[in-house]
Amino acid sequence: MGKTFLIYIETKDSKARKSSIEALCAARRVAGDSTAAAVVIGQCDDASSLAQYGVSAVYTVNAPSTAGFSSDLHAAAVAAAADKVKPDFIGGSATVLGRELFGRLSARLGRTAAMDCIEMKWDGGLKLVRPVYSGKALATVSFQGEAPHLFTLRPNVFPADAPAAGLSCALTPLDVSLDATKATSRVVEVLRGAAGELDVAEAQVVISGGRGMKGHENFDVLRKLVAVIPNAALGASRAAVDSGWIDHSHQVGQTGKVVSPQLYIACGISGAIQHLAGMSSSKCIVAVNKDPEAPIFKLADYGIVGDLFEVVPKLVEEFKKLLAQ
């Protein structure tokens, strides 16, 4: 079985997304002596710098700048690219748009993608592991039938390699034309999250509040901690979201997002099974809770039994001191 890869590079503000670079590096490592190429659709200012990650080629597809993301057009473009490049595997990142794209691509190419994988290695074939039941179990999957096979990797799980400075490569334009008028859906307005606010799924540090927050205004206590720690995002439990204290986009757990940050700080969260499913693969877990019997303490690396409204402001001071050093 061959092991050439074609990785779809998603762009944001005309730059390659970090999660796409993670997928590219993961494919590059597995490919070994074989090749990993990238395909970029539309404007991408740093496309030629993808060479710094050891890609064999960067294929580009022109897209009208007005098109926005349209999963049907992008799936058609990736399928056309795959037809020319003939990779054994087509991969990408399991972002919101990546999921939609790989669904359409699966239907186009007649094979089901393995989505949101957290392990990838070569052992006589491509071995992928993906969480099921929001991470309550892990499944090993395999592909049947002919190449190409499709997969996406969970953002923030696979390390991106350090770029090899100075490398660049020529771009290979593919003769694929995208007609924006054929798009079945149209983006009419883009709304950004609050300025500088990071998504919980992409953050290295997640600081979450639960029922113990007692009200929406108290989330400012956590926002102060988010503000002092680099690459941190604000999370929440279902109890806090259902109480209307914070938007659902912050929810971590089975009906929210599943996250695997380096550090997860749970404040006033007791640890319902649905919440634990969404964060128990974090590298390090800290729990701050008044109730010493809270289930969250059973999996926390560090627990503080106390009032979060006293502890968190002290943490803000201590993190400031430490990070100023």
Partner: protein, 259 residues
């Protein structure tokens, strides 16, 4: 307006997962089955659209006999018709095979709008709605938290990483529901009683006009399962708020080496 709501029956979200002794399947013993939580938002939205615009709602599911209870719940909430795709051929299909069967059924049911939950909670692939969109050549608004139906299009607020976007799709269209779209109602006793007598249309492979060949063999298989490695409880820090905060930051730097 004709609306199809695609429903999936899944494990209750508080289910504890047990792996069968051979490691090849997830045990279904003592599992409570529910309508996937995201499908509840899709169904509620269908009811609200019908209340505003009139029309007909068909609940559509694929699965074994147990799914009857979920279709009864959908009737209790107010759907007009229910179609149950049930056949031994439909067992253990991968996402694309499910999408092909659903797409065939959707072709046979009049529709202006097809609603899904953004994912079933369980296998968590989240692929079927975009596959069905591609198979039927329909627009898709995925992971939607606001929806308005206009004369010949829908306007949807969809979630993207780090923000959201308003997208417009001509009808017929597929929309998948995210939490936040609405607050689903609870069935009342009258609805529950009436639901018991409503007819469920059961379509098998033959009546649907699909075969093992047209569904296609699964191209992705889930071969084995393990539980994630258990985490051990760690240190509980003692002292005042200030003491514990100092200890924690020091441990994160020197022991966990995270910060």
């Amino acid at each position: 307006m004709n609306i199809i709501v695609c429903l999936k029956q899944v494990f209750a979200t508080d289910a504890r997962i047990k792996i069968a002794p051979d490691g090849k399947t997830v045990s279904e013993e003592q599992i409570e089955w529910i309508m996937s939580p995201y499908d509840e938002f899709a169904l509620e939205e269908a009811l609200r659209i019908r209340e505003a615009k009139s029309g007909k709602i068909t609940a559509l599911t694929l699965g074994p006999e147990r799914c009857t209870t979920m279709l009864r719940s959908a009737f209790a909430l107010g759907v007009d018709a229910a179609v149950h795709l049930k056949d031994p051929l439909f067992d253990n299909l991968d996402a694309l095979a499910v999408a092909r069967v659903l797409a065939e059924a959707i072709r046979k049911i009049p529709h202006d709008l097809v609603l899904f939950g953004k994912q079933g909670v369980g296998v968590d692939q989240g692929l079927v709605q975009s596959m069905v969109a591609e198979l039927l050549g329909l627009p898709l608004a995925n992971i939607v938290t606001k929806l308005s139906v206009e004369a010949d299009k829908v306007r949807c607020l969809r979630e993207v990483d780090g923000g959201s976007e308003w997208v417009e799709c001509g009808l017929p269209a597929i929309v998948s529901a995210q939490k936040g779209l609405n607050d689903p109602r609870i069935a009342n006793l009258k609805g529950i009683m009436a639901a018991k007598k409503k007819p469920i249309d059961v379509w098998n492979a033959q009546s649907l006009g699909v075969t093992a060949d047209s569904i296609g063999a699964s191209t992705l298989t889930h071969d084995s399962y393990v539980l994630p490695p258990p985490r051990k409880a760690g240190k509980v820090l003692q002292g005042t708020a200030e003491d514990t905060a100092q200890q924690l930051v020091s441990l994160l730097r020197n022991e966990a080496k995270i910060i």
